[in-house]
């Protein structure tokens, strides 16, 4: 049951998008998202949507997968829409029933906001779908490395992220197992009020923490015995390299951003 939560939703494919340098992908994503907030016409959104579709096509990720990624924000989307429709005033009255009315401005702003949220989620999930968590952390580490001068421990942060990502599925699996083991002894995780439920979690949380600490100890030992002593001067097996394709992608993204805003 707990395994269904996917943290890294990466889908391995051999596509142009997957093969782009993660740093470039992160930069492009930041650019596109920023541009998204400057778009003020539906035709701008149309163009954005079109480019998202092209990228999805190029990435060979099934469209349904992206659409499914929207499910968790469905509630937010609906709420935004409803709030705007009923509470944003202005423009001509489209529909009225008693004191409830829908006005043009509300409908327009509502749809506008909703489109923005949907496109935002679609684009960011494209990043996580086409970039493995490891590549992502590598990319972030590189992008943060100028900050090392002012004392930001970029490599350590990246190492922590890598380790966390590596162990999330393991811990979820473990939690699932312990939960079942306690249920086999009659534990009940599903009923009772909030306080009771929280207390019922103790038989799950204590073993989970113990096992997490045990793993952390083992891992620290294993890393030390392989001479890990912080990020200083560490080299990599796979160095990130920016290729011509990456520059082209960056240039295209820049062009698009300008186009969105002036469309």
């Amino acid at each position: 049951m707990l395994r269904n939560i996917t943290i890294g939703q990466y889908m391995a494919r051999d596509s142009i998008i997957h093969n782009l340098d993660p740093r470039i992908k992160i930069v492009i994503t930041i650019m596109m998202i920023t541009a998204l907030f400057f778009i003020d016409t539906f035709s701008g959104y149309g163009l954005f949507f079109l480019s998202v579709l092209v990228i999805i096509y190029l990435s060979r990720i099934p469209l349904i997968r992206i659409i499914r990624g929207l499910k968790p924000v469905l509630f937010l989307v609906l709420l935004t829409l409803i709030l705007h429709i009923f509470f944003t005033r202005g423009g001509e009255v489209i529909w009225q029933w008693g004191f409830i009315s829908i006005e043009a401005e509300g409908l327009y702003t509502g749809l506008f906001m909703v489109t923005r949220i949907i496109l935002l989620i679609m684009f960011t999930s494209l990043l996580t779908l086409t970039t493995s968590p490891l590549e992502l952390t590598n990319g972030i580490e590189y992008l943060l490395s100028p900050l090392k001068r002012v004392g930001v421990p970029a490599s350590e942060l990246a190492m922590m992220m890598t380790i966390a990502l590596r162990f999330i599925p393991t811990l979820l699996e473990e939690a699932d197992k312990i939960m079942k083991a306690q249920m086999a002894r009659g534990a009940d995780f599903e009923s009772g009020n909030l306080v009771k439920r929280a207390r019922n979690l103790i038989p799950l949380l204590v073993p989970l923490f113990i096992s997490a600490f045990r793993r952390a100890d083992d891992l620290a030992l294993a890393m030390e015995s392989r001479c890990y002593h912080g990020g200083e001067g560490r080299t990599r097996l796979h160095e990130l390299k920016v290729r011509a394709g990456d520059f082209i992608a960056l240039a295209l993204a820049l062009l698009l951003c300008v186009a969105f805003i002036y469309f």
Binding site: K177, A181, R185, G186, A187, P203, P207
Partner: protein, 286 residues
């Protein structure tokens, strides 16, 4: 108690492609059987045993316990879990209480028993697994040795007084002495307490020695389901499935192939010695 599986399949729905862990399993488990469940890693043994007490629901098919289809039943699983105790793999990882007493008492307390009854049961089950009640009850389970922790965890399941006891690879990682104690415990529970026992194990000696029915699984299907002698006579197939034979069977089988006409359906050392010397006396070699 009768446990019955009818056309049970189970698919772990992870993401896009699900793993079909069990395929159309049909199985009947009767009172007072000692079943050895074997199969290589990933063959679906753990999935199967978790189905038996309703920890996971089959994707299709039904699990029927004493005439009650637990796949339909919304509630009442506590009753099932009282009757069918499941000792998970590495059960010591589930210990959580401050004292050994508290941990063993967890199950009985969940059943809503009185404190007196709980204490009686804790004492009884600790003694069963060979831990002295007075000595261990107030100790922290986390300061015990690995073997003792496992005993505490097993006691925690025994304290619920199940009619059917399922153990998922209980001897994994134990030292020889710990394994021997476990085997004695299982013999005692089976012979003296009349329990039904399902033992998942990779150690064929254990299985051959204890079980009166062996179920062999591979890729989510039941390949053999018969008495140990029959199953372990399928030497070639057992090997193909990546499994071992009991050591004694292995020796007898090799002797047999070298031309010594010994029986191969023997699982105790004494009997094997007798069989080999009988055969040797009878032949011309000596």
């Amino acid at each position: 108690m009768l446990i019955e599986l009818k056309n049970v399949s189970h698919i772990y729905a992870d993401d896009f492609q699900g793993t079909e862990a069990l395929k159309n399993i049909n199985l009947k488990i009767r009172d007072h059987e000692f079943i050895g469940l074997v199969g290589h890693t990933g063959s679906g043994k753990s999935t199967l045993v978790q189905l038996l007490n309703g920890l996971i629901k089959p994707s299709s098919g039904s699990v029927i316990i004493d005439g009650v289809n637990i796949t339909e039943e919304k509630t009442g699983l506590l009753g099932i879990r009282r009757k069918i105790g499941l000792v998970f793999q590495y059960p010591e990882h589930q210990l959580f209480e401050e004292t050994v007493f508290g941990d063993v008492a967890f199950g009985p307390r969940n059943l809503g028993l009185s404190e007196e009854e709980v204490e009686v049961r804790v004492r009884e089950s600790l003694e069963l697994v060979g831990l002295d009640y007075e000595e261990f009850k107030d100790r922290s389970p986390f300061n015990l040795s690995g073997g003792q922790q496992r005993k505490v965890a097993i006691a925690g399941v025994l304290a619920m007084k199940p009619e059917v006891l399922i153990l998922d690879e209980p001897s994994a990682g134990l030292d020889p002495q710990g394994r021997q104690q476990l085997i004695s415990l299982l013999e005692y529970l089976y012979n003296k307490k009349g329990m039904t026992i399902i033992l998942v194990s990779h150690r064929m000696e254990e299985i051959a020695h204890l079980a009166n029915r062996v179920i062999v699984m591979s890729e989510g299907e039941i390949i053999f389901d018969d008495n140990p002698a029959k199953v372990f006579s399928e030497v070639e197939r057992i090997r193909e499935l990546g499994l071992d034979l009991p050591e004694i069977t292995e020796i007898l089988w090799r002797l047999n192939r070298k031309g010594l006409k010994v029986r191969t359906d023997i699982f105790s050392l004494a009997e094997a010695v007798e069989e080999i010397s009988r055969e040797l006396r009878g032949s011309e070699i000596c």
